[in-house]
Symmetry: C2
C-alpha cells in the first residue's frame, strides 16, 4: 500500500487525556480515534490491520485445536439471563435496555447464556461431545470509568470460546488443549507472556488460568518462581510460612512501652528502632452477622483481601470495621491494636505466627507491647494464609523463590463446570441413555486489548516497536525526494513490486514530505523493517536498511535486498 | 473438515414459523438459529462459513477499488445524531438507550454520523481527497416485525462505505468505480442480479442505484428493458404515455348510464362490457393544508404513491381522503367518482389522457358517464406520471419495451452530496485555501441478507444449490459404510488429504449414518460437488461424481478425480 492511499493520521503532540503509553501511541500513530463519549473507539485503517492480524492468528490456532467458529448476536434477550440467574446478579456493567415492544435486552458483555441456550437445543447425545465453539465478536461492558484507550474500553472485540462435555475428565482434556493453544497463540503474536494460576472470580467454576502480557505498566501483579513454571496472580499465589519453622525465643519478658502518637508500623518500628517484620499488625474486619474478627500479619506484609474473604468466619466482600466500632468494642484506636488479650476471634497469617519476641499494639491508646511470644503471652494462634506473597518468598511448589512481575491480562481460561448448564437445563443423554447435565469450560481472549498490551511491552521513545506478526506492515520503503526524480520513482515502484510479489506486506511512503517527517512517522507507527532509497543509491547500487530496533543503518546491495528482507522476516516469525 | 467435528444441525421438518424458502432452508440446513426474541440469530459454524466467504469477496473487491477498511463502534452517542438532525427524525427503528451515567446512545442502524465526525476531525485538505472508507460491521434496526430470517433481521451484518470528495465531479468518479465494483462483487458471488435506478428515499441525496438479486420471491418489482441496460425499481421507472398520441375520438356523445351497486373498475367494465383500459379511475388524496386533489388513471393502471407524493400539490406522505370527506365535498361515494365537472384540482396520468370515448364515474351515486372525451366534455387535463409501469410499456430510454422481474435488494449506492457534511460542518481547504463542505457518497451491501437471497435464487426441492464461490464447502466426500471397512476408511482419508492438498474446501461425512441420510444432508446443505466412495469402487478403481444440480452420477476413475474436480471448480468460478 502507498501512504497516499492510506489515512495516515499521525500526531506530533501527546493527546492530553491519554494516561498510559499504549493509549498515547495508538492515538499518535493514528491506529484509533475516540468518539466523543468515553470508551468507544473507531479503529482507523492502520489500527484495523493490526487487529485483523491478531484475529487471524487466534482463528488459525482455534481451528487447529478443533474449535468451531460461530457468531452470536451482540444484543441478547433478558429471558436468557433470567434463566441463568445473572439478570439480577450482574451489576451496572451490564447495559440493559428495552426494544420498541418494551421487551428487555442487554448488550452482551459475555455469551455464556446464548451459547448454553444453543447447546441445550442442539446437543442431544454424549456422541456429539466434546464440542468447543468460539466467536470473535463485539462485546460491551458499561465500565463506570472507561480508561487507558482500548485497554479498558466499553465496546471491545473479544474471542470467546465455550466447550461442552459429558464429564469433568473430558473438560480437563479440552482445558489442557486450550492451555496449549493459548501458549501457541501468544507465542505466535510475538509477545512475552506468562500463564498464571488465577482466581476464577464471580464467573464461577473451579480451575482457571490467566494469560498475562508482561509489561511494567501492567495492572496485575504476578508471582512466579525463579526455578519452575509456577506462576500465579498475586491474588491467588499461596504464601507459605516464612521462616518455615518458628525460631527459638530469646527469653526476654513481655513489656509495655509508651508509644505516644505512633500509629503505623513505620512509626512504631522507627520509634522503637526495630525492623518492620519484628512488628505484627492487627486489622479488624467484619465477620458473620456484623461481629468483628481480627486479622494479624507481619508488619512488612500486605493483607490479601481475596484470600481473607474466602474464610468462612469473614464476611464477603471484605469490610473493615470503622474507627467507632473498634473504639467501642476494643477500647483503643486503630494504631494501638494487638492480638494479646483480644476478646474477638483472631486469625493469624502463617508468617506472623513464626515471629518471636514481637512488638504489637497493647489495645490501649499510646501503648505497645514488646517481647511478645505466641504460646507464652497469648495462645497459639488459628492460622491461615491471608497475605500477598512478596519477592523472595519461597515458591509454593517447593521449587525456588518467588519473584514479582507486572502483567496485562489478555486471556483467561476457566473450568466452569455445571454453573450455567445446570441453571439452564443443558442436558444430554449419556451412554446409558440417562439425562446428564453437561460440564462446560470457557476461554476468552481480549483481542483489541492485545494491540494495546503489545505496545506497552514493545515501544521506545520514538514510538511503537511492533512484533513482526502483528505489525500493520512488515516493511516500509522510504524514498528520498522521489518527486524530484522520475528515475528514483521508477526504481522505487520496481522495488515495491518485487517485495509485494515476494509476499511481503509493504508500505511505500510516497508523500511529498521531508525525510525527517517520513522517518519519524514510520518509527512512530512501528514498522519492523525500513528500506531507504535515494538518488545516490541508484548510482552505487545500494540501499539503506534498518530494523525498527537497530541503532544503525546497514548498506545492502539493491540486488540482494529482497532475499535479505525475506531472511529478516523469517527470523522474526 | 469432518462432519464428526462439525455441528451439523440439519432438520427434517420445515420449521413452523419460517415463511420464505430461504428462511426454511437456512434453519433446516443448520446455518442459523433464532434466539427466543425475534430478529436475532446465531450463525452456526456451517452458516458462518458462507458469511465469511461473502465478506471476503466484498473485502477483496473494495480493497481493489482503493477503499480503506476501518471499524466503527456498534454503540453510537446521541450527540452525533443531534448534530446531523437525525436523532429527532429517525423513527423507532433507531434503538435508543441510556448508559449508567444517563447519557443517551443508540445502536447504529447506519454510520453516516460516526464517519462524518471522523472525517471532519481527520481530513483537512483537498490533497487528502477523495477518500473512501468502509467497514463490515454489525448493524441493528428495531424492525416492528422482523421476518424472513436473516432477510429482515434486527441485528445483521452490513458492509457500509462512505466516500469524501472536494466536489461533485470527484463523487461521480468514485460512484462509477463503486458501481463497477458492485457489479464485480455480485458477479463473483455467482448471483443473477441487476443494478437498478432507485429512489434515494429519506437517506437524502440525488443519484442512487440498487442492486437486486433476481428471485421470484423478491419483495421488490424491477422494470427492465428487453433491448437495453435500462432497469429501475418500479417505484422509480418512468411511465411514458401509452399510446404515445391520442387517437381520434369516434364522435359518440357523452351519456349518463345507471350503474347501481357497480363500484370497482372491474364491476363497471363487466357491467358495461368494455375493457378496463377504456375506463378511468379517480382517486381523491390530500393536498396542501387538508385540501383535496383528484388523481385520474387508466382503469388497468396502478397509482405509484412515490411518484404522486413528489408532486408539489400533494401532501407527503400520500394520504387518501376518507369516505366522509369525499361524500361531503364531492357528494357521492368512492365508486362513482369521475373527472367531469369536478371542482377540486385534478392531476391526470399521461396514459389516462390518451384515452378517448372513456367511461368514468358521474360524481352521482349509481351513475357513470360513457363516451367522454378530453377537451370536449371537460378541459384538457394537467398531466403527470403517477402510475406504475407495466410489462409491455415502452422503455423510458426509448429502447425496447419493459418487462417486470422480482428482486431482493442486496446493495444500494447513493450520491449523498452535502446532506451530512453540511449539517456536521465537515469542511476541508480547497486549492485556493478556502474552506469548502465535502461532498459524500455512501455504498451499502447487506452481507447477511446475501446468504438468504442466494438461497431464494438457488434451491430445489432437496435443498440449497449454493453458487460455488459461497458454498460452505466445495466438495463433499460420502463414504458408503466406511465403519465396516478399514480398507475403505484408509482410501477415503487418502482422497480427503489429496483434495485438501489441492486447495479444495472439503467436507468428509464420517458419520455412522445410512447412505440415504448422508445424501439427503449433503443435498440439503447444498455442497456443489459430491464424490461417493464404496467398497466396490476400491475394486474397480472408480468413484461416483455428481454436481449438486446434475441429475445423474458420473463414474470417474479414482486416479483422475482430483484433476477432474479441479476442472469442475475452475468452471464454476
Amino acid at each position: 500500500m502507498r501512504t497516499s492511499q492510506l489515512l495516515l493520521a499521525t500526531l506530533k503532540e501527546v493527546p492530553a487525556d491519554a494516561e498510559v503509553i499504549s493509549h498515547q501511541l495508538m492515538l499518535r500513530a493514528g491506529l484509533i480515534r475516540k468518539l466523543e463519549a468515553g470508551g468507544l473507539y473507531t479503529w482507523l485503517p492502520l489500527g484495523l490491520r493490526v487487529l485483523r492480524k491478531i484475529e487471524n492468528i487466534i482463528r488459525e490456532e482455534m481451528n487447529q485445536a478443533g474449535a468451531q467458529e460461530l457468531l452470536m448476536p451482540v444484543v441478547q434477550p433478558a429471558d436468557l439471563w433470567e434463566d441463568s440467574g445473572r439478570w439480577a446478579q450482574y451489576g451496572p456493567e451490564l447495559l440493559r435496555f428495552k426494544d420498541r415492544h418494551q421487551r428487555e435486552f442487554c448488550l452482551g458483555p459475555t455469551h455464556e447464556e446464548v451459547i448454553t441456550d444453543l447447546a441445550r437445543r442442539e446437543l442431544r447425545s454424549y456422541k456429539q461431545l466434546p464440542m468447543n465453539f468460539y466467536q470473535i465478536q463485539t462485546k460491551f461492558r458499561d465500565e463506570i470509568r472507561p480508561r487507558f484507550g482500548v485497554m479498558r474500553a466499553r465496546e471491545f472485540l473479544m474471542k470467546d470460546a465455550y466447550s461442552f462435555h459429558i464429564n469433568w475428565e473430558s473438560l480437563e482434556q479440552t482445558y489442557q488443549v486450550m492451555f496449549q493453544t493459548y501458549n501457541q497463540i501468544f507465542s505466535r503474536l510475538g509477545l512475552k507472556f506468562r500463564p498464571v494460576l488465577a482466581d476464577s472470580g464471580n464467573i464461577g467454576g473451579s480451575s482457571s488460568h490467566e494469560f498475562h502480557v508482561l509489561a511494567e505498566s501492567g495492572e496485575d501483579a504476578i508471582a512466579y518462581s525463579d526455578q519452575s513454571d509456577y506462576a500465579a496472580n498475586i491474588e491467588m499465589a499461596e504464601a507459605l510460612a516464612v521462616p518455615d519453622q518458628r525460631p527459638e525465643a530469646s527469653g526476654v519478658e513481655k513489656a509495655t512501652v509508651e508509644t505516644p502518637q505512633q500509629h503505623s508500623i513505620e512509626d512504631v518500628s522507627q520509634f522503637l528502632n526495630i525492623a518492620a517484620q519484628q512488628c505484627l499488625k492487627t486489622l479488624i474486619v467484619k465477620g458473620e452477622e456484623d461481629s468483628l474478627v481480627a486479622l494479624v500479619l507481619r508488619g512488612d506484609h500486605n493483607l490479601n483481601a481475596i484470600k481473607a474473604e474466602k474464610l468462612s468466619a469473614i464476611s464477603s466482600p471484605l469490610t473493615f470495621a470503622s474507627d467507632e466500632e473498634i473504639e467501642q468494642q476494643i477500647g483503643c484506636n486503630v494504631g494501638s491494636l494487638g492480638p494479646v488479650g483480644l476478646s474477638i476471634p483472631t486469625i493469624v497469617d502463617r508468617s506472623a505466627a513464626q515471629v518471636v519476641d514481637f512488638v504489637c499494639g497493647a489495645n490501649q491508646n499510646g501503648q505497645h507491647l514488646t517481647g511478645v511470644n505466641w504460646g507464652r503471652d497469648l495462645p497459639e494462634p488459628e492460622l491461615a494464609d491471608i497475605r500477598d506473597v512478596m519477592a523472595g518468598d519461597p515458591s509454593p511448589d517447593g521449587q525456588g523463590t518467588l519473584d514479582i512481575a507486572r502483567g496485562i491480562e489478555v486471556g483467561h481460561i476457566f473450568q466452569l463446570g455445571d454453573k450455567y448448564s445446570a441453571a439452564m437445563n443443558a442436558n444430554v443423554l449419556d451412554e446409558q441413555g440417562k439425562s446428564v447435565t453437561m460440564i462446560m469450560g470457557c476461554y476468552g481472549i481480549g483481542v483489541s486489548r492485545i494491540a494495546a498490551a503489545a505496545i506497552e511491552q514493545n515501544h521506545d521513545d520514538k514510538g511503537i516497536c511492533w512484533p513482526a506478526a502483528i505489525a500493520p506492515f512488515q516493511v516500509a520503503i522510504l524514498p528520498m525526494n522521489m518527486h524530484k526524480s522520475a528515475r528514483l520513482a521508477e526504481a522505487v515502484a520496481q522495488l515495491y513490486d518485487e517485495l509485494t510479489a515476494a509476499g511481503m506486506d509493504v508500505l511505500l511512503d510516497d508523500r511529498k514530505e521531508r525525510p525527517g517527517v517520513m522517518f519519524a512517522d514510520m518509527e512512530l507507527i512501528g514498522i519492523p523493517h525500513r528500506v531507504v532509497l535515494g538518488e545516490r543509491g541508484l548510482d552505487d547500487g545500494m540501499v539503506e536498511y534498518k530494523s525498527r530496533t537497530d541503532k544503525d543503518n546497514q548498506h545492502i546491495a539493491r540486488d540482494e535486498i529482497v532475499s535479505f528482507l525475506s531472511g529478516q522476516l523469517k527470523k522474526s516469525v
